[in-house]
Amino acid sequence: MFSAPVLNYSLLAPILIVLGGALLGVLVEAFLGKAIRATAQLAISLGSLVLAFAQIIRIHSERSLTAAVNSVAIDGASIFFQGTVLVLAFIGILFIADQDNFAAQASAIPGSEEERSAIETGKQQTEIFPLTLFAVSGMMLFPMATDLITLFVALEVLSLPLYLMAGLSRRRRLLSQEAALKYFLLGAFSSAFFLFGSAFLYGYSGSLSLSGIANAITAGNGNDIFLLIGIAFLSVGLLFKVGAVPFHSWTPDVYQGAPTPITGFMAACTKVAAFGATLRIFYVGLSAAQWEWKPIITTISILTMAVGAIAAIAQRDVKRALAFSSIAHAGFLLTGVIALNKAGLQASLFYVVAYGFTTLGAFGIVTLVRDSAGEVTDLNRWVGLGKKSPLIAGTFVLFLISFAGIPLTSGFIGKFSLFNAAYESGNILVVVVGVLSSAVAAFFYLRIVVMLFFTEPANDSVTVVIPSVMTRIAITVCALATIILGVYPSLLLNTAQTFANFLA
C-alpha cells in the first residue's frame, strides 16, 4: 500500500547541491591536511553556493507542488527566498573566511595549553564551513516547506548548526559558549512550542499540509480550541526565530556573544528564511483564520517596532545595538505579514533583500574595528573613528542611514513599500506607529554618527584593521546594494513583483 516517493531532483537541485557541498566539507575536514584545508573548504562552500544559485536561475520560472511528495512548493516566493539566502550566504561566507575570528579547536578548554598549541601550530579546524552550508540548506528548505513536518525539520536543520556556530568564537570564548548555550536552550524551547502547535493544528484539521489546514479552516468544522492553541504555539516558534517581542530576549545576548561574522550571517539569512516560512504559513495556511491571529500579530508587530527602537537608544555595545535594530526591523517586516496582500508579499521580498545586505555590511564593518585583544564592540571606544578612518566610518554611517530609512537608501524604499502595503490593507495604526518608531530609532542611529564624527577621539588603541580582500569585496557589495536599491529600486522591485506569489 505504500508507494515509493517520487522526487523531482531537477527542481530540488539547488538545495541538494548545498547539502552535497556540506557533506563534502565534512569529508574534507576529516581527511585533508591542514595546509590546504581552509582553502578547499572555502572553495567548496562558495562553489556549491554558486552552483546552487545557477540552478535557481535555471528553474526560476518552474512552478510545482509535487517536487517532493507535496511537502515542498516550487513557486515564486520560495525561489526568490532561496536565491536571496544563497546570495546573502555567499557574502556571509566571505566574512567567515577570515579565520582569525574562530576558535582553532572548539573542543579545547579556553586558555588551555591545548588551545594555545593549536593556534601556534595553525591546527585551525574549519568545521565552520560545512556547518554554514547545513544551515543554508535548512534556510532554503524552510520557506519552501508546505507541511508542518518539513517545516519542523527545516527549522531544526537551520537552527542546530547555528547553535554550534554561535559558540566558535576565538576570543571571549566564555561569552561565545554562553551565547551558544542560551541560543540552544531557548531555541529548542521555542521549537517545542512550534511542534506542539503543529500537533494541535494537525489535530484540528487532520492534515499536516498547509493547504489541508486552510481547507479545514474554510470548512470550519473542527475544534476551534485546537486551532487556537495551534496558531498560538506555532506563532511562538516562528516569532522566536524572527526575534519578535516578547520572544526576542535571546537576540541581544546571542548577537553579542557569537563571532561577529556568524552574527551577521544569522541576522541576515535567518530572518530571510524565517520570514519566508512565516509568510507562507500565514498567507497560505492560516489566511482564512486571519480574524483570529491578525490582532495579536498586529499588537506584536507594534510592540516589536517600539521596543526595538526604544531599547536600542540605551545600548553601549554596538552588536547589542544592532541586535535591537534587527528586532525593530522584524517588527517592520511583520507589517508585511499583517498586510496579507500581494503588495505585502512583494514589499517583504524587497525588504528582506535590502535589510540582508545592509545588516551584513554593518556587521562586516564591526569585524574591522579592533584592538590588541580583538574586536572592540564598546560604542564609547568607537568615538572619533571618523577621524581615524573616514571611509570605514562613512560606510557604516551609510548602513545606519539605511536602517533609519532615509531616502535614497534601500531601507527607505523597503519601509515605504511595507507601510504602503499595510495601509492598503487598512492597518493604518501600524503605519503610524511604524513611522513614529523609525523616528525614535533615527535618534539612536544619529547618536552613533555623532560619536563617529562629531566627538573628539579618545586616543586609545582602537584601530581599524586593513580588511582582507574578501571582506573588502563583501562590504563594497553591501554598500553598493544599499545605495543602488535606494536610488533605482525598480531593479529589484520588479523582480519581487514577478516572484511575489505562493502556490497553494
Binding site: 498560538a232 511562538v236 522566536f240 530576549s249 545576548d253 526604544i310 531599547a311 537608544i313
Partner: protein
C-alpha cells in the same frame, strides 16, 4: 488733470545726490555739501516754476500728475508709483524746498567743524526727497513710503551723533513712536482698500460718500493715530523733546517746519474722510486741543532753549490739528498756520542754533543772558519770529492763529466755548514762555562763564535767518489778503470762503481777546524774569512746576505703562520658551531614554527569565486569541 513729465525730478534729484554722497563716501567730503545745497536749490527752482505753471492753468487743469511706473499689482490691489501736484501739495513743495534750501545753506557754516558734514548733507537730501514724495504721492501707499522715508531720515539725523548713547536712544525713541503711528496708517490703508478697492486719493475720495460712517470713522481714527505719531500729538508726543538731540538745523527743518507737520497734511489731504464722520472730527479736535495746552505747559518750564522751542512746536501743531478738525475751512486755516509757523519757527530754531554756535553749544538758557547786544542780527531775526508766534499783529502768526481761535469759538455751543477757551489759554501761555525765552536769552545780565565768547554768526548762517524773518513778517498778511490761500486751496479742500459756523462773537472781539491773552502772558513773563535769573534751576518749587519740568510725566507714564511691562513680558516669554516649550521636547526625549534604560534592565542575562518571558508571551497570545475569537 494735467500730466506733467518732470515732477519726478523733484524727488529724483535729491535722492540721487543722497545716494552719491553715501556711496562715494569720503571722496565727496570736499564738495558734498555744495552738491546737496545746489540740488535742494534746483528742487526749489522746479517747485517755483511748477507753481507759476499752475497759476497759468485754471480749474481742474491746475492739478498735475505723473505716472512713473506701475509699482504693485496683485489682483485688484493696484498701486502705481505716480505723483500728484495740486494746490495743496505745491504749498508744501515750496515750503520744503524753500526752507530746506535755506537750512542747507545755514548748515554749510553750522556743520563746518564736523568731519561727517558730508554724511549730514546726504541725510538732509534724503529727507528732502522723502518729504517731497510724502506730499506728492497720489495714493496713501506712496504717501506711506515718503512717510517712513522721512521717519528714517529723522532717525538718522537725530542719531547723527549717535556715539552719545543718549542721542542714539532719542533716535530710537522717535522711530518707535512713529512706528506706533504707522500702525494707524497701515490699518487706515487696509480699511480703505477693503472698503473702496483702491488706495489712491482720487479713488477714495470718489468712494467716500458711499461708505458707511462707521468705516469712515475707523479710517479717520487710524489716520489721526498716524498723524499723532508723526506730529508729536497726544498721546505719542513724548519723542519730540528728545529729538532735539539732532543738530539744530535738523530741528529747524524736520522737527519744526516740515516733517512734524506731515500729520496735518495727512488729515487735510484726507478731508473727504473726515467730512464724512463728525466723530472722527471730534477726535481730531480733542487731540489737537489737549496737545496745544500740553505742549505750551511743557514750554513754560524748559531751560534748554531747543526743548522749549520743541515744546512750542508741539503746541503750535496742536493748533493746526485742532483747526483741521473744525470743518472745511479749518483745513485751509490749518495749512495757513502750518506755513506761517514753518517760517517763524524755523527762523527761531536757526536763531537758537546761532546762539549755541556762539556759546559753544551751550543750550541752557540760565547760562545765557544779555546776548542780544553781542548778536544783534540773531536777536533781530529771532525777535521777529517771536512777535510772529505770539500773534502780534500784523505779524504772520497773528493772522493764522487768530483765525483758529475764531474757528474754535464758532464751533458752537459748549464745544465752542471750551475750544475757544483752550486756544485763548494756549495763546496766553505761548506768549508767556516765548517771552521768558527771549528775556532769559537776549536781555538781562550775562550769566555765562568766561570761556564762552558770544559772537555774531557768519553770513551763511544769518542770511537764511534773515530770509525766514522776512517770511515770518510778511506771509500772514500775504495769505490772508482776500483769503488768497483759502481760495487757492478750495478745489482740494472744498473749503468755503467765509469762516463757517454761527458766529459766537464778532471776529474783532476775538482778536481783542487774543491780544489781551498775549499781553497778559507777556506781562507775567517779563515780571518774573526781568529780575535776576538763578544759574541753576531752583529746587524749592511747587509740585506743579516739578511735574511740568518732568514734561507732565509723559516719559514716566510710558515707562510704567509700556516699557516695564514689555520687558517683563519679554523675559517671561524667553523663560517660557526654554522651560515650557523646549522643556516639553526635552521631557519627551527623557521619557524615551529612561524607558530604554528600563528595557535594558529587563535583559538580565538569565536564560530562565528569558524562558519565563517567552512562556508569559505564549500565554498572552492564547489569551488574546481567546478574547478575539469569543
Amino acid at each position: 488733470m494735467t500730466t506733467s513729465s518732470h515732477l519726478v525730478y523733484l524727488i529724483a534729484l535729491p535722492l540721487i545726490s543722497a545716494a552719491l554722497l553715501l556711496l562715494l563716501g569720503r571722496k565727496t567730503d570736499k564738495w558734498g555739501h555744495i552738491l546737496a545745497t545746489l540740488v535742494s536749490a534746483s528742487a526749489f527752482g522746479i517747485g517755483v516754476s511748477e507753481f507759476f505753471a499752475m497759476q497759468g492753468r485754471t480749474g481742474d487743469a491746475r492739478a498735475a500728475t505723473q505716472k512713473i511706473f506701475s509699482w504693485i499689482s496683485v489682483g485688484t490691489f493696484k498701486v502705481d508709483a505716480s505723483l500728484l501736484l495740486d494746490q495743496l501739495s505745491i504749498c508744501f513743495v515750496l515750503l520744503i524746498t524753500g526752507v530746506g534750501t535755506l537750512i542747507h545753506i545755514y548748515s554749510i557754516a553750522y556743520m563746518s567743524h564736523d568731519h561727517d558734514r558730508r554724511r549730514f548733507f546726504a541725510y538732509l537730501n534724503l529727507f528732502i526727497a522723502a518729504m517731497l514724495l510724502l506730499v506728492l504721492g497720489d495714493s496713501y501707499l506712496n504717501l506711506y513710503v515718503g512717510w517712513e522715508g522721512v521717519g528714517l531720515a529723522s532717525y538718522l539725523l537725530i542719531g547723527f551723533w549717535n556715539q552719545k548713547p543718549a542721542y542714539a536712544t532719542a533716535a530710537k525713541k522717535a522711530f518707535v513712536a512713529n512706528r506706533v503711528g504707522d500702525v494707524g496708517l497701515s490699518l487706515a490703508i487696509m480699511i480703505a482698500f477693503a472698503q473702496f478697492g483702491t488706495v489712491t486719493f482720487a479713488g477714495v475720495k470718489a468712494g467716500a460718500p458711499h461708505a458707511s460712517t462707521a468705516a469712515l470713522t475707523a479710517i479717520g481714527a487710524m489716520l489721526l493715530l498716524a498723524a499723532a505719531g508723526k506730529s508729536a500729538q497726544f498721546p505719542l508726543q513724548s519723542w519730540l523733546g528728545d529729538a532735539m538731540a539732532g543738530p539744530t538745523p535738523v530741528s529747524a527743518l524736520i522737527h519744526a517746519a516740515t516733517m512734524v507737520t506731515a500729520g496735518v497734511y495727512l488729515i487735510t489731504r484726507s478731508n473727504f474722510i473726515f467730512d464724512g464722520s463728525s466723530t472722527a472730527r471730534l477726535m481730531v479736535v480733542i487731540v489737537g486741543g489737549i496737545t496745544l495746552i500740553f505742549g505750551a505747559l511743557i514750554g513754560t518750564a524748559k531751560d534748554d532753549i531747543k526743548k522749549a522751542l520743541a515744546a512750542s512746536t508741539m503746541s503750535q501743531i496742536g493748533y493746526m490739528i485742532l483747526a483741521s478738525g473744525l470743518g472745511p475751512v479749518g483745513y485751509a486755516i490749518a495749512i495757513m498756520h502750518l506755513l506761517t509757523h514753518g517760517f517763524f519757527k524755523a527762523g527761531m530754531f536757526l536763531g537758537a542754533g546761532s546762539v549755541m554756535h556762539g556759546m559753544d553749544d551751550e543750550v541752557n538758557m540760565r547760562r545765557y543772558g544779555g546776548i542780544g547786544k553781542l548778536m544783534p542780527i540773531t536777536f533781530a531775526t529771532f525777535g521777529l519770529g517771536y512777535l510772529a508766534i505770539i500773534g502780534v499783529p500784523p505779524f504772520a502768526g497773528f493772522y493764522s492763529k487768530d483765525k483758529i481761535i475764531e474757528l474754535a469759538f464758532n464751533a458752537g455751543g459748549t464745544k465752542g466755548i471750551i475750544l475757544g477757551g483752550a486756544t485763548l489759554l494756549g495763546a496766553a501761555i505761548t506768549a508767556f514762555y516765548m517771552t521768558r525765552l527771549i528775556v532769559m536769552t537776549f536781555t538781562g545780565a550775562k550769566r555765562w562763564d568766561e570761556k564762552a565768547h558770544p559772537h555774531e554768526s557768519p553770513i551763511l548762517m544769518w542770511l537764511p535767518m534773515a530770509v525766514l524773518a522776512v517770511g515770518s513778517v510778511a506771509t500772514g498778511f500775504l495769505f490772508n489778503s482776500g483769503n488768497s490761500l483759502v481760495n487757492w486751496l478750495a478745489p482740494v479742500l472744498n473749503s468755503r470762503n467765509e469762516v463757517g459756523g454761527e458766529e459766537l462773537m464778532k471776529p474783532i472781539v476775538v482778536s481783542a481777546l487774543a491780544l489781551l491773552a498775549v499781553i497778559i502772558g507777556v506781562g507775567i513773563a517779563v515780571g518774573m524774569y526781568r529780575k535776576e535769573v538763578p544759574v541753576v534751576a531752583p529746587e524749592k518749587v511747587s509740585v506743579f512746576t516739578r511735574i511740568v519740568r518732568k514734561d507732565l510725566m509723559q516719559d514716566a507714564f510710558n515707562e510704567a505703562v509700556l516699557m516695564r511691562p514689555g520687558q517683563k513680558l519679554t523675559e517671561g516669554l524667553v523663560k517660557t520658551d526654554y522651560f515650557a516649550i523646549d522643556g516639553l521636547v526635552r521631557l519627551v526625549a527623557g521619557i524615551f531614554a529612561s524607558t530604554s534604560t528600563a528595557l535594558r534592565k529587563i535583559q538580565n542575562g538569565y536564560v530562565r527569565s528569558y524562558a519565563l518571558i517567552m512562556v508569559g508571551g505564549a500565554l498572552a497570545l492564547i489569551a488574546t486569541i481567546w478574547v478575539v475569537t469569543l
